[in-house]
Structure formats: structure tokens, C-alpha cells
């Protein structure tokens, strides 16, 4: 498989270079919202959607910045785009699906400071992907995030039922679990490359 084919980009970002477990992006929601499966799943889907929207917008704005020769403004422009994309998603959800809007609550605006999304926009610029490649890259990254947070939530729900020493409860346990998950995903390393 060629390293710029769409299938390769997708598999590579979902499994071998999973945004959360191999590149450490978006750890705050990964550790914070993964307590229960039925909050983790909507969070994953919302993040996926914002990734898609902001990836498309970032691709367009980068073209403008390059054309005007003001690339040093890239970071500021991207952040502004992501913040407005999140705002847009929030308004759309509020209008068309109030129940989902309520169940996501505070996590929705917090997607702005999810580094996976800014990371996605920056990486697709560094790798000089064209439009369809960036689109697939965004879908892959979103799927990877969804996979990681859903797996983590499932594991943590199971752990609630087991008896653990009192010291290990809390953040330390989540991190150890993340370590094991990350170790598992390293098994996919042969599938792709950076």
C-alpha cells in the first residue's frame, strides 16, 4: 500500500497512530469523560463531528493564509476556527436535537480546548495532505478517538465491580489502564508508519 493512499491514511490514524493512545492528543476528555459508557459515546461522536468540520475549515483557511503569505498567523486562525466550529455545532445541536445537547452539557464547549482537534489541523498542514486526504485523516482521527474513549469507558465500568486496594482508586488507575490500552495498540504498529 502506498503511504498516501486513502485506506492507508485511515487505518494508520485509527490503529497504528491512534491520536489518543500513540500520540497523546485529547487526553483530558479521555481521562475525564471516560467514567461511563453512555457519556463517553456521545462525547466521542461529538468530537468526531467537530474534527470533521474544523478539518475542512482549516484546509480552506490554510489556502488563504498561504496565498496571502501570512502563515505566522496560522495558529491564531486555527484556534479561532475551531472555537467557531464548536459554537456552530452547539447551536445546531440545540436546535435539532435538544436531548443530545442536554446530555453532553458542559463537555461540548470544552471540545475547543481538546488538543486532538488543533493537533489534527496542524498535522494535516505539516503533512501537506490534499482535500480528500485531509477529510479521510479527520475521519480516521475521529474514529480513533471514539474507539479509545469507548474502550476505556468499558474497562472502567468493569473495574467498578472489582475490589481494588484503596490507594489505586482515581487518576492513577485510569493512567495504568491507559498504559495497558496503549501497549495493546502498539501491536498494530506494524500496520503503518509516521
Amino acid at each position: 500500500m502506498q503511504s498516501d493512499s486513502l485506506t492507508f491514511i485511515f487505518l494508520n490514524t485509527v490503529l497504528a497512530n491512534n491520536f489518543v493512545l500513540a500520540m497523546f492528543l485529547g487526553l483530558c476528555p479521555f481521562l475525564g469523560v471516560s467514567g461511563k459508557l453512555n457519556t463517553a459515546v456521545p462525547m466521542g461522536i461529538a468530537t468526531m463531528f467537530v474534527m470533521l468540520v474544523s478539518s475542512v475549515c482549516a484546509f480552506a483557511i490554510n489556502k488563504v493564509l498561504v496565498a496571502l503569505d501570512i502563515e505566522f498567523l496560522r495558529l491564531i486562525a486555527y484556534i479561532a476556527i475551531i472555537a467557531s466550529a464548536v459554537q456552530l455545532v452547539e447551536m445546531g445541536l440545540k436546535k435539532y436535537s435538544p436531548s443530545l445537547f442536554r446530555s453532553l452539557g458542559i463537555f461540548l464547549p470544552l471540545i475547543t480546548t481538546n488538543c486532538a482537534i488543533l493537533g489534527l489541523a496542524l498535522f494535516q498542514t505539516f503533512k501537506e495532505y490534499n482535500f480528500s486526504q485531509s477529510l479521510v485523516y479527520a475521519i480516521g482521527a475521529g474514529t480513533g478517538f471514539f474507539l479509545a474513549i469507548a474502550l476505556m469507558a468499558g474497562l472502567r465500568e468493569k473495574l467498578l465491580l472489582s475490589s481494588l486496594p484503596s490507594v489505586t482508586q482515581g487518576a492513577a488507575l485510569s493512567l495504568m489502564l491507559g498504559g495497558l490500552l496503549s501497549l495493546t495498540f502498539m501491536g498494530f504498529a506494524g500496520l503503518g508508519s509516521l
Binding site: 493512545l21 487526553l27 484556534i79 479561532a80 480546548t113 482515581g170 492513577a172 498504559g179 501497549l183
Partner: protein, 219 residues
């Protein structure tokens, strides 16, 4: 500004808060992404810590100066733009000082923008305190963050490469634990540090409980 606290004094506490009691990494669990991603060597950890400290201090100062002029509704957006400006500056500075360092830190310098510590301090502290006090507090937070990064970076480099700051420590026969410099190592080492701190805290609490128990018995 009714929000501005009446106590303008700068105490040791406004610095030391970030160092230990409210350490951004070990206690508040903020800004985890750079903490885990760039700590595969002590040198990277130090550079990342210093860069974050610079952005913390500079944005804290500016936010505190401007806080009375920023309308409440758009304050978060304004803070983000201020932070992004300083991050762009430090990004170019690191690129100019050492290209090797820049390449090994990769996109994580630019990702300082979305480090929750910085936005969190701007919102929770700098916008409510005097400029000087915010700078002192930001310095403390930055020192605490750098300290935590160094804790992780040195352990991971020591176990994963048998070296510290690039100097070989154990000689040629040392078998490095490669997994420690790979992604899972980051999770495991931070988990181990948190376990250690939790254990120490629990032991101290039990000791205090035992002492107070003895006192009540004696009475």
C-alpha cells in the same frame, strides 16, 4: 472591578501554590497531553517546561493588565488569542535557538495553546489579581509544571535509554527498557508517580488519625 480581590499582598504562598499544594500535573491533572508526549527524555521535558512557563507568565501578565478592558462575554476568546500570540513567539524562538530541539518537540510547542493550565490560570487567577501577583503565581505554576515534567522525563530516560540529559549512566551492558520511551511508558510512569503520592498521602493521614486517636484515648 468588584472581582479584584482586596488583598494585594504578594506572599510566599502565591508562588508556592503551584509548586506543591496545587501542582498542575500531580494534583490538578491538567495539561496531560504535553506531559506524556514530550517526556521521553529529560532534555525535552525541560525545554517544554520552560516554554510553557514563559507562556504562562507572559499571558498571565497581559491578561491581568487588560482584564478591566475585556468584556465578559468574549473573555475566553480574547485569552486564547493572547495565549496563541505568545505561543507563536516561543515557537519561532525555539526554532531559532535549536532546530534539533524544535524537531523533537514537534507540534507540541504549538499545542501549548490548548494546554488547559494556561487558560485555567488566566481565567481563575490572572483576571482577578494584580499583574505582579499574577506573574509570581504563574512563575510558581510554571516551576511546578517543569518539576513534574522533569520527574517523568528523567525516570523515562533513565529506564528507557539508561541515560540522563544524554549522558550514559549505566555503561554498555545495561539493557534498556524500550517500552519506557514509547507511548505506554508515559502512561505507566505518570500512573506510578500518582500511586506513590497517593500512598504517601494515605500513610500521612493514617498516622495523623492514629495520633489523634491516642490523644483522645489519653484524655
Amino acid at each position: 472591578m468588584s472581582q479584584r480581590k482586596s488583598d494585594p499582598r504578594i506572599t510566599w504562598d502565591s508562588f508556592a501554590e503551584g509548586l506543591w499544594k496545587n501542582n498542575p500535573v500531580f494534583v490538578m491533572l491538567l495539561g496531560m497531553c504535553p506531559v506524556l508526549a514530550v517526556t521521553n527524555s529529560a532534555m525535552n521535558a525541560l525545554a517544554m517546561g520552560l516554554a510553557t512557563t514563559f507562556v504562562l507568565v507572559a499571558s498571565g501578565y497581559l491578561v491581568s493588565l487588560l482584564s478591566r478592558f475585556i468584556p465578559r462575554q468574549v473573555r475566553i476568546a480574547t485569552y486564547i488569542v493572547i495565549i496563541a500570540t505568545f505561543v507563536t513567539i516561543i515557537d519561532y524562538v525555539i526554532q531559532a535557538i535549536s532546530l534539533d530541539l524544535y524537531n523533537s518537540l514537534g507540534a507540541f510547542i504549538q499545542l501549548i495553546v490548548v494546554n488547559c493550565i494556561i487558560l485555567g490560570r488566566a481565567e481563575a487567577y490572572a483576571s482577578k489579581h494584580s499583574p505582579l501577583k499574577s506573574v509570581v503565581n504563574a512563575l510558581g505554576m510554571g516551576a511546578g509544571f517543569t518539576f513534574a515534567l522533569l520527574c517523568l522525563g528523567s525516570v523515562r530516560e533513565l529506564l528507557g535509554a539508561g541515560a540522563l540529559f544524554g549522558f550514559d549512566l549505566f555503561g554498555a551492558q545495561f539493557q534498556p527498557w524500550i517500552v519506557m520511551v514509547l507511548p505506554p511508558g508515559g502512561f505507566l510512569v505518570l500512573g506510578a508517580w500518582l500511586l506513590l503520592f497517593d500512598w504517601l498521602k494515605q500513610r500521612r493521614e493514617q498516622k495523623q488519625l492514629a495520633i489523634s486517636g491516642e490523644q483522645t484515648n489519653a484524655v
